[in-house]
């Protein structure tokens, strides 16, 4: 299995989700550099118009072309209370980087979310390797 990179803010929701996933993962903190293909897990913070959805540390991380070109997919968390902008960061990153939104979950995720992501990542990486040049 390839890499997992995530961002978690003070609420700790994404951190708790990643802990339960039980997979090796790199947290975005300050200057973070990755060297192998990865899936990004990120929360979403948009306002009522969808602005500001992607957290600034995630933007800084993806601004690094070396990091950006290794991104293979994005998993976004959020809250359905934000209506059409639920987990909007996923959609924005997917559009900017040409990768799929793999999954969306709310807050720190349910046990089902954890199981689905674990299973989904396994299948995803197997498929990635089979189509890799």
């Amino acid at each position: 299995m390839a890499g997992l990179v995530y961002y978690s803010s003070g609420s700790g929701n994404t951190q708790r989700f990643v802990d339960r996933l039980g997979l090796p993962a790199t947290r975005i903190l300050g200057e973070t550099r990755v060297t192998e293909p990865y899936v990004l897990i990120t929360p979403s913070y948009s306002d009522g118009l969808g602005n500001g959805a992607v957290a600034k540390p995630v933007i800084r991380f993806l601004n690094d072309p070396a990091n950006r070109c290794l991104l293979r997919g994005v998993i976004a968390s959020g809250n359905r209370n934000f209506g059409e902008y639920f987990a909007h960061a996923g959609k924005i990153i997917a559009a900017k980087c040409g990768v799929p939104v793999l999954y969306r979950f709310e807050l720190s995720g349910t046990d089902e979310d954890v199981a689905r992501v674990r299973q989904g990542l396994e299948t995803f990486w197997t498929r990635q390797r089979s189509i890799a040049p």
Partner: protein, 325 residues
Amino acid sequence: MNAQSPVRRTPTRAINWNRVQDETDLTVWNRLTSNFWLPEKVPLSNDIPSWATLTDYERQLTIRVFTGLTMLDTVQASVGAVSMMPDAVTPHEEAVLTNIAFMEAVHARSYSSIFSTLCSTQEIDEAFRWSEENTHLQKKADLILKHYKAADPLRRKVASCFLESFMFYSGFYLPMHWSSRAKLTNTADLIRLIIRDEAVHGYYIGYKFQRGLERVSEAERAAVKDFAFSLMFELYEVEEAYTEELYDGVGLSEDVKKFLHYNANKALMNLGYEALFPASVTDVNPAILAALSPNSDENHDFFSGSGSSYVIGKAVATEDEDWDF
């Protein structure tokens, strides 16, 4: 000449938003102020024809549900948010709480806009009388108010987070239900604005709760967690009775309860705790979830297998400037 030294006192401090100790205060302040709205912005009168299609029972149910929500918003505006101000650890937190208090007052005011657009004075007065006499609704308020008035900041935040993230939802269910049937859609638009605000409030109070928890002993942390879960059980019991009393007549009680379980889990997550209700009882009616987040485009979910139409995009060279959100 005058050897008397001035009396030392703590100076009155002016809030300095250019020296923020906790970035989250600023982020949440910005989010709340950019989300500011007033009920006048929603064209509620477009719902008059739709209102006429509801039965008498459905109309009475709707007015009662909204009166119950008004009461909780009143509690949060006048007591809840205000009671947390002396607990604030930064001046900016205090300022954010003033915003929360005011928006709760806007929410409470909004229901009266709905009423004045759709209902007769007699219907409105009857519903407010009902809210004062309904034992379940009064119990809900009492359970929360007790902790607002008690001495402990952490327990106060638990109660407040449960009000914001759990107790409103037996009420929010109904406008989402009508909206899923293309009824009262403008009213639903207004309720969605309230629901969005409550998410930010719950997030923020939960965040401050977790910071507060870091400063107490392991034993106190365990005691607070016990308190939180037992309060949730207590509140759930009342919510269940309240739900049955309101929704049995339209056959929706079981559907509403799933929505309650789902939101109880989210309230606990806001506090940093694990979910309480298992997936078997949180399978909220998809029509309600769709009404909650319309156009949120389920097609993009790759892992769930619903993304059949999805094509992996070709990675384009992204310029750094593109990231200027």
